[in-house]
Amino acid sequence: MPDAPEEIPSAVQPLPVLTDVAVEPELRAPPGTSARARSPWEIAWLRFKRHKVAIASLVILVIITLLAIFASVISRYNVHTPDLAHALEGPNGKHWFGTDNTGRDVFSRVLHGGRISLLVGVSVALWSGIFGTFVGALAGFYGRWVDQLLMRITDLFLAIPFLVVLILASSLLSGSVFEIILILSLFFWMPAARIIRGTVLSLKEKEFVEAARASGASNARIIVLHILPNALGPIIVITTLNVAAAILTESALSFLGFGVQPPTPSWGNLLQAARGFTLLAPWMVWFPGLFILITVLAVNFLGDGLRDALDPHQELRAREQ
C-alpha cells in the first residue's frame, strides 16, 4: 500500500489486488509490530474474516463437498440397487431421508447427486470464468472494433432466453455430464466478460502497464503477467457467484428432464423423480431441494463475503462504465 515505506516491489510479490483501494485503519498493521506492510491478500483475509456469514457458509460448503466426495463411504446403501420390500418408506433410523418408489435410499442418492451437481456447478463456473476472462480482457485491452464486436456478441447472448436454447441444445445431445457442463458453460461467460472488461479498461491506464510497455513487453505478456493478476479479485468473485447460478440451472434443466439423465443421480433429476410422488412420498421432495437451497445460499453468501474482501470497489467501477 502507498503509505507503507518498505513496500515490496511487485516483481517479487505480484499480487496487489487492491491497487488503489484505501485500507480501513483497523486493518493496517499496528505500528511497530511488523517490519513490512500487510500484503493485499492478508488484508483481504482480514476483511473476509469479519464477514461471519461468509465464514459459516465456507464451513457448510466444505461439509457438503466432503459428504459428496465420501458418499459411498458414508452411506452403506447402493445408489442403484432397488429394494422393493422397503419402497416409499418415510425417514427412519435405517433410511434417514426415507426411500424412493423402488426402495432406494434417498440419503445415499442425495449425497451421490451432490457429486454430479457440485461437479457441474464448479466446472461450469471455471470454464465460463476462463472464457469470460479471455473475452473481457481482449475487449478491454484492445478497445475499438474488437471491443464493439465482442460486447455486441455478449449482449446478444444475454438477450437470448437461455433456458429455451439449453433445452433445445440438450435434446440434440445425449445428456452426459460432460455435455451438460459444455452447453451450460456456453451461457455463463457473459457477466465475467463484462466485469473483466471494465476492470481491464481501468487497469490498462495504470503506470505499471506503461512501465511494462516501456521495457518492451509484448501485449500478450502485459495482459497475462501484468493486468490479469491485478484483476484476480473480480474474477474470483464472479466465478464463485457463477457456481451458484450453474447449480440452480443444472438442477432446473435436470428437473425438466433435459439435463443429467437417470440413472445417474443429480439433485435436479432426483426432484424430477419425486414429482410423481409429491403426495405419496413428500420426503423425496424435501431433501434434494434442501441441499440445493443450502448449497446455493452458502455459495452466494461466500461470493458476497469475497466481494467485500477482494473487490470493494466493484460496484463503483460498474457504475462508471
Binding site: L163, L248, A252, L271, R275, T278, L279, I292, L293
Partner: protein, 325 residues
C-alpha cells in the same frame, strides 16, 4: 428517435431469420414426425413414404425452410402434428394464458419489491434492512421448481387434510376447475395464486435489491440535498425526488422481465400445468411437434427484441440526461 426505433426494428429482421434457421435445423434434427407411424405394425413402408411426402420431408432442407417461411410470413402457421389443430390459435391462447400469469407475478413483485427496497435504503443497516437482505438472498438461492413442489405438497396435501375440506384453498394444477362453465373469477384466482407466488419470490428478491441500491445512490445525490434545502417535506423529497429517479434502473429490469414472459415461465407452467407458452414448448419438444416449435420460437424472439427496444426508449424518456446527451 423515430429513426432510431425504425433502425432497431430493421436490425431485428436478420436476427429473427438467424434464429428461425437455427431452430429449424435443430428441431428437424431432433424430431422424427414419422416415429409414431413407424411404431404402428399395420403401417406399410408406402404409408411412411406417403406421410413424408405429405409433410414435404422428401424435399431438401433448404426447400423445406423456404416453404415454411413463406407460409409463416403470410400468416399460415400450419397445424400441429399431434392434434391437427391450427398452431396460430393454439399459440394465441397459450400466449394469453402466459400473460395473465406473468403480469400477475410481475405486478405483485414490482409493488412489494419497490416497497421493500425503498424502506431498506431509507433505513440502511436497520433490522428491517438486514432481514430484507437475508430474505433476498434466500429468494435468489431458492430453486423455484422446488419451492413450487413444496407449495403443492403443503396446499394440496397438508392444509387440505388439516382443514378437512374437499378441495384445497388454492388449486395446485391447471387454470380452471374442470367442468367450470363460463368465466368464474374466484375459481380463476384460486388457480392463479400458487404459480404467481412462485414467480414473485424470485422477482421480488431481484427488484428489492435493485431498488435498494438505486435508492441509496439517489438519496446521496446533490438534487436531494437541494430539495431538502428548499424546505420540502421529507415525504415529498423521498417520493417525488428520490423514488422517481431511483425507479429508472427497475424499469430496465421490468422491461426485460415482461419480454421474457412470452417464453420464460417454462418451469412454473410445467409444474402447475398452466396451459401457457412454457408448457406449450415443453409439450412440443417432447412430442417432436416441429410445426408448433418454429412459430413459437418466432413469437418468443420477437417479444424479446421488442421489449429490449421498449426498454431503451423508456430509458431515454425517463432520464433526460440520456435524451439530451
Amino acid at each position: 428517435m423515430l429513426r432510431y426505433v425504425i433502425r432497431r426494428l430493421i436490425f431485428s429482421v436478420p436476427l429473427l431469420i438467424i434464429a428461425s434457421i437455427l431452430v429449424f435445423v435443430v428441431v428437424r434434427h431432433v424430431t422424427d414426425p414419422t416415429a409414431s407411424l413407424r411404431l404402428n405394425p399395420r403401417a406399410t413402408p408406402q404409408d411412411i413414404i406417403r406421410l413424408k411426402h405429405q409433410l414435404g420431408l422428401d424435399r431438401s432442407g433448404y426447400q423445406q425452410y423456404t416453404a415454411w417461411l413463406s407460409h409463416f410470413v403470410r400468416g399460415d402457421w400450419g397445424s400441429s402434428l399431434i392434434s391437427s389443430r391450427p398452431v396460430f390459435t393454439d399459440i394465441k391462447q397459450a400466449l394469453g394464458n402466459s400473460i395473465i400469469l406473468g403480469l400477475a407475478g410481475v405486478i405483485i413483485s414490482l409493488i412489494i419489491g419497490v416497497a421493500i427496497g425503498t424502506l431498506s435504503a431509507l433505513r440502511q443497516y436497520s433490522k428491517f434492512d438486514n432481514i430484507a437482505t437475508g430474505g433476498a438472498f434466500l429468494g435468489l438461492s431458492m430453486p423455484n421448481f422446488w419451492f413450487a413442489l413444496l407449495l403443492q405438497v403443503f396446499f394440496g396435501l397438508y392444509l387440505t387434510r388439516w382443514l378437512n375440506s374437499g378441495s384445497p384453498i388454492f388449486y395446485t394444477a391447471g387454470m380452471t376447475s374442470p367442468g367450470t362453465v363460463g368465466f368464474d373469477l374466484v375459481d380463476r384466482l384460486r388457480h392463479l395464486v400458487l404459480p404467481a407466488t412462485v414467480l414473485a419470490v424470485q422477482i421480488i428478491a431481484i427488484y428489492s435489491r435493485l431498488m435498494r441500491a438505486s435508492m441509496l445512490d439517489v438519496m446521496h445525490a446533490d438534487y436531494i440535498r437541494t430539495a431538502r434545502a428548499k424546505g420540502l417535506r421529507e415525504r415529498r423529497v423521498v417520493i417525488n425526488h428520490g423514488m422517481r429517479n431511483a425507479l429508472i434502473p427497475i424499469t430496465t429490469q421490468l422491461g426485460l422481465d415482461l419480454g421474457s414472459i412470452a417464453g420464460g415461465l417454462i418451469i412454473t407452467e410445467s409444474i402447475f400445468q398452466w396451459p401457457g407458452m412454457g408448457r406449450f414448448f415443453i409439450d412440443a419438444i417432447n412430442n417432436g411437434d416441429y410445426p408448433q416449435l418454429l412459430p413459437w420460437t418466432m413469437v418468443v424472439v420477437f417479444s424479446v427484441i421488442v421489449f429490449n427496444l421498449l426498454v431503451d426508449i423508456a430509458y431515454a424518456v425517463l432520464d433526460p440526461r440520456i435524451r439530451y446527451a
